[in-house]
């Protein structure tokens, strides 16, 4: 079966298998190796999209990534839908389903096209000047309308089942672009032994050799030469070849980010293959061989389906074997479109005429065209086009004025010249320079170890280009330090195409009609002129005001035209108007590919303790604390959260409770100066702490605010076991290392993180000693031998332990540290003993309630980074005799010693069953008008089953002087009266620690 516009014997696809596909539900057949664009064109389909603003019918402009118009949705299945896919890039696979976008109800009849009638009103920036009355209408009427009208495709509706891979790569030379220049550079470098990576965005290497019919290298046809070059490279161990891979971002120090499309061209399903792969390549040298992109002619109604770039016409013909029409008109201001005319003519396609704005074009290629009998209308312009859903004619007149002539066509190819692709060069922070003679920006000053070769460097002559690229490849290998043998011969150009010249901006004969510069965003030459008239003088202003170059093609065909039009209106040379800085990505990049495998379980590490699995098996609910999952509470059958917590709280104080404290940060501080170091990093005194004893320590930042806290045990004269908060573990160690390495490097101390070495099982409650007694070996755990706040080393359940006698509940308590892999086993043993004594397992919520009953603070809950030790009632923990510690100076600042600071207090609600909301604000006068004077806020608030009432902690201005005062908590519906109290609610004398 042959599609009507497929030309037998043309193109590089050969006898590829047929691939069937649908577009807007209609079935077609193409060939494997086609793009969706070439396959549709082979079937004579040009109308594929609607423009953004005016909903004008649009076809293909290009055959590549610069495509502004032909954006479609591709739907593999319900979950695998992708909006805004360029049909010129999407490779065909059997079963592909594509749909058009931004039209309703159908592509050929789109109601939105009424916008086109209103287009005189929708001038550049019109929305800044209206929709302001009445005020509320913007939110409720105008904006919703605009939002619905804007946007192109539709976001997927289901989570993406595909996965994405990532790879870091390193090489001596990265060559971006696998056309003739890139292949030549890669070969030259690879033959010298350098590690080379060569990438190209297309499915196959060759670049413009895909369509150049008259180029011959080393005596071979250009395309064939490219294939043999690829074959040679593929045989080398030191070369990595990546097709379908776009270098989209050029970062500092030669880090180039690239996206490889792995499965988008394949029919599915392919469960183990990633959809795309992100490459982050660190190259010692980079060769940019990124080529150039053809520009369209800016003339009235230049946007009709069927009007395309000359290079696109050639690619469809010479690579895909597809004719874009049967009677093609050509409009050009340079030679390159002549090649298109010649190729078409030779392939048996009628060429209606070549319209050339130049008065007297002279070159071999013009002669060739003439010799083939193609009509050349030199010194003529196209002043318009006809046709609705497809171009049907071009209107031609002499450039200097005169009678218009309508020439029937079914497709048009245009060229106004070529824009070097300096995107990556610019991203590398190189500075482009404007070449007046050729009207183009070329690489100027380099900022990184990088060199541009070929068309992107303005190297127009193939002979020069081959030498330049060869030298760049060898030079890069040398610069990367790779030895290489004597230089081999450079490839030689046997015949070459030359297509320089052209024009920028509006073609002559445009007058006051719609001549599109940016197709997707519907920006016309008039819009740009208007922006300049309105005072926009920087190209950035013009661009933002008109949206020229801001569509999904990012101005690849429109930026230079826009710049030239602005420059002309301003009467300034182009470089003075500026050039928009190029930023990544070169072409749009899938979010999922950038995120890579960091999804689900790999979004962020989930840290679990050694005891986690036990808690899970025993029905615990968990809470996230940083990356940790911590057991929150342990509901038994039928219990809600409050019931579980009430039970846990009471059980701990009546019998005992077992708590997994493994997530606490732990640092071993070792060395003869360990105590001196501790004195400097904590507010407390440490020199006189006996080995075997513990102390609650407070760490400040240099500004005097509480940074962390924890119990510290002295294991030996030169060894401390420091604990930190769970969230503070990493930053406390970093903070300590900072001071040790940079401020106190003379101290003989080393710090080692042991957070994960030890699982920690807290056993708290009056029965705690009885529970652990049968398990402990070699430690006398009697009150006399091991009083509150002491630490011993010995064994438990036959394995080593660091046993702390300490309490965060106010009860007699122990914290059993055991090597983590033993954690669950020892926990189970403790649990078995605990059950005999009526103990329960408890979680973080009960831990919070119990410590609040005792008024113990939690750093990060009572403190918020602006609290001093005195603010939270911990002034006692500052060593009064100490001459220095981190934070000592900060504490002296006037605002930190001023009266009226917020201080930790307790709150008792008047109604004992009212539990305050954490974060609720306190005021003295609840009847004052808003904004109210707030005195502080509730930091912790719980129902305390042990106290039989609600309890709360709060930070209140001058709080300690308000003990006994009544304050108010204004809530949305009511006001709660509270009494300020000391921050302790249970066992005020602390008798239970030894009870």
């Amino acid at each position: 079966m042959t599609a009507p516009y497929r030309i037998a014997g043309k193109g590089h696809l050969g006898t590829a298998p047929v691939a069937r596909f649908t577009f807007d539900g209609k079935s077609y057949a193409g060939l494997e190796g086609d793009t969706l664009a070439s396959a549709l064109l082979a079937n004579g389909v040009h109308l594929v999209g609607r423009s953004f603003k005016y909903h004008r019918p649009r076809g293909f402009l290009s055959s590549g990534v610069e495509e502004p118009n032909a954006l479609v949705g591709v739907e593999r299945d319900a979950a695998r839908t992708t909006p805004n896919v360029r049909a010129t890039v999407q490779e065909l696979y059997d079963g592909l389903q594509a749909v058009s976008q931004n039209r309703w109800p159908s592509l050929s009849f789109d109601v939105g096209a009424v916008n086109n009638l209103g287009s005189p009103f929708f001038s550049a920036g019109f929305y800044y000047k209206t929709f302001m009355w009445p005020k509320a209408a913007w939110k409720h009427l105008y904006e919703p309308f605009i939002r619905r009208a804007a946007g192109l495709g539709v976001a997927p509706e289901q989570p993406d089942p595909d996965h994405y891979a990532a790879r870091y790569e390193h090489c001596d030379l990265l060559v971006v672009g696998g056309g003739v220049a890139g292949l030549t550079a890669a070969l030259a470098a690879a033959e010298s032994g350098a590690r080379v990576v060569l990438v190209d965005e297309q499915p196959e290497f060759g670049g413009s050799l895909r369509f150049e019919s008259q180029t011959r290298i080393d005596g071979q046809d250009g395309w064939d030469w490219a294939q043999s070059a690829v074959h040679r490279l593929a045989g080398m161990d030191n070369v990595r070849l990546l097709t379908r891979t776009t270098a989209f971002g050029y970062h500092a120090q030669n880090m180039v980010a690239m996206i490889e499309r792995v499965t988008e061209h394949l029919p599915g399903p392919l469960p183990d293959l990633p959809r795309e792969r992100l490459w982050q390549v660190r190259a010692k040298q980079v060769v940019l061989a990124t080529g150039s992109i053809e520009r369209h002619m800016v003339f009235p109604n230049n946007d009709r389906p069927g009007i395309m770039l000359a290079s696109a016409g050639r690619t469809f013909l010479n690579h895909f074997g597809v004719a874009v029409g049967r009677n093609v008109g050509i409009y050009t201001s340079n030679d390159s479109a002549y090649y298109a005319a010649i190729d078409l003519k030779k392939a048996g396609v009628s060429v209606a005429a070549i319209i050339d704005v130049r008065d007297n074009p002279k070159s071999a290629i013009v002669d060739q065209a003439r010799a083939l009998g193609i009509e050349i209308k030199a010194g003529h312009v196209v002043s318009g086009s006809k046709g609705h859903l497809r171009v049907s004619a071009m209107i031609v007149k002499p450039r200097g004025g005169g009678a218009e002539q309508t020439i029937a066509v079914d497709a048009m190819l245009t060229s106004s010249g070529w824009t070097p692709s300096v995107h990556l060069f610019s991203q590398s922070r190189g500075k482009v320079a404007y070449d007046e003679a050729t009207q183009r920006f070329l690489p100027g000053t380099y900022a990184q170890a990088c060199v541009s070769v070929g068309a992107c460097n303005g190297s127009d002559r193939l002979e020069d280009l081959l030498i330049e690229a060869s030298q760049a490849g060898r030079g890069a290998a040398q610069a990367a330090g790779v030895d290489h043998d004597a230089a081999g011969a450079y490839p030689e150009a046997s015949a070459a195409e030359v297509w320089t010249g052209g024009m920028l901006g509006v073609a002559p004969g445009v007058e006051d009609k719609k001549a599109f510069v940016d197709f997707q965003n519907d920006v016309t030459a008039k819009d740009i002129a208007q922006a300049v008239r309105e005072g926009m003088r920087s190209i950035e202003h013009v661009k933002r005001f008109t949206t020229n170059g801001m569509a999904t093609d990012q101005g690849k065909t429109s930026n230079m035209h826009g710049l030239a039009i602005a420059a002309e209106v301003l009467g300034k040379p182009i470089p003075e108007v500026g050039l928009t800085t190029f930023r990544q990505p070169y072409t749009p990049v899938t979010f999922g590919a950038i995120a890579g495998n960091a999804r689900g379980a790999l979004f962020d590490p989930t840290r679990r303790t050694a005891i986690h699995s036990w808690a899970e098996e025993h029905g615990a609910e968990f809470e996230d604390v940083g990356q940790w999952k911590r057991a929150w509470y342990f509901p038994t059958a039928g219990e809600d959260m409050q019931a579980a917590i009430n039970r846990e709280c009471v059980t701990v104080r009546q019998n005992a409770g077992i708590f997994d404290a493994s997530t606490l940060g732990k640092i071993e501080v070792v060395g003869p100066d360990a105590a001196t170091f501790m004195e400097l990093l904590y507010t407390n005194p440490w020199q006189k702490l006996e080995p075997g004893r513990c102390r609650y320590g407070i760490m400040l930042r240099e500004d005097g605010y509480v940074y962390d806290d924890g119990v510290v045990g002295r294991l030996a004269a030169d060894r401390f076991h420091v604990t930190t908060t769970t969230g503070g573990a990493a930053r406390v160690l970093h903070h300590m290392e900072d001071y040790l390495q940079t401020e106190f490097p003379h101290l003989k101390v080393y710090l080692t993180s042991i957070s994960e070495q030890w699982a920690v099982i807290a056993v708290q409650g009056p029965k705690s000693r009885d529970i652990i007694a049968p398990l402990v070996e070699g430690i006398d755990i009697s009150d006399a031998a091991m009083p509150h706040m002491s630490v011993r080393e010995g064994k438990i359940c036959g394995v080593p332990t660091r046993l702390f006698r300490m309490s965060f509940t106010g009860e007699r308590g122990f914290e059993i540290n055991v090597p983590a892999d033993y954690g669950r086993s020892v926990w189970e043993a403790v649990w078995a003993e605990g059950k005999k004594h009526g103990a329960c397992a408890y979680g973080t919520e009960t831990m919070h309630v119990l410590r609040a009953e005792k008024g113990y603070i939690i750093v990060g809950q009572e403190t918020d980074g602006t609290a001093t030790p005195d603010d939270v009632g911990l002034a006692w923990a500052i060593g009064k005799a100490k001459k220095d510690f981190v934070g000592i100076r900060g504490l002296q600042r006037q605002d930190l010693v001023a009266p009226g600071r917020k201080q930790l207090v307790g709150l008792r609600t008047k109604n004992s069953t009212t539990v305050l909301e954490e974060g609720a604000q306190l005021v003295a006068d609840p009847n004052q008008p808003i904004p109210m004077k707030m005195l502080g806020h509730v930091t912790s608030s719980y129902w305390s089953e042990n106290c039989g009432r609600s309890i709360a902690l709060a930070m209140v201005e001058g709080g300690r002087n308000r003990i006994g005062d009544i304050l108010y908590v204004p809530m949305p519906d009511n006001t709660i009266e509270v009494e300020v109290t000391e921050p302790i609610f249970f066992d005020e004398k602390g008798e239970r620690l030894n009870g």
């Binding site: 120090q253 880090m255 660190r282 240099e702």
Partner: protein
């Protein structure tokens, strides 16, 4: 992602192994309690933040763990040199 030469590992290594640690050559005075409020403000809060060569601290936190210093151009983000903690500020000469 920058590439940073760790003066202890003697190797150019990826930025994600490092943690920036603020302006370099700020020495905590041994008589810190005798500083005036203004001096303390100058030590703890005021920063040079130059547009040009910055002297800054880094820690090879996911590597050898060492703090060290760097001279970097804050406009191009290029490193001029890195050197070990405690070493004097290098004379950069015409490298600037």
């Amino acid at each position: 992602m920058l590439l940073i030469r760790c003066p202890y590992c003697e190797k150019d290594l990826p930025e994600v192994e490092f943690r920036h640690a603020g302006e370099a050559h700020l020495v905590r005075p041994s008589n810190i309690t005798e500083m005036s409020d203004a001096e303390f403000e100058g030590y703890f809060f005021i920063r040079q933040n130059p547009k040009g060569i910055v002297f800054e601290r880094w820690r090879h936190v996911h590597g050898c763990g060492r703090f060290f210093n760097a001279a970097r151009d804050s406009v191009s983000d290029k490193f001029l040199t890195t050197y070990k903690a405690g070493e004097p500020k290098p004379v950069l000469g015409d490298r600037e």
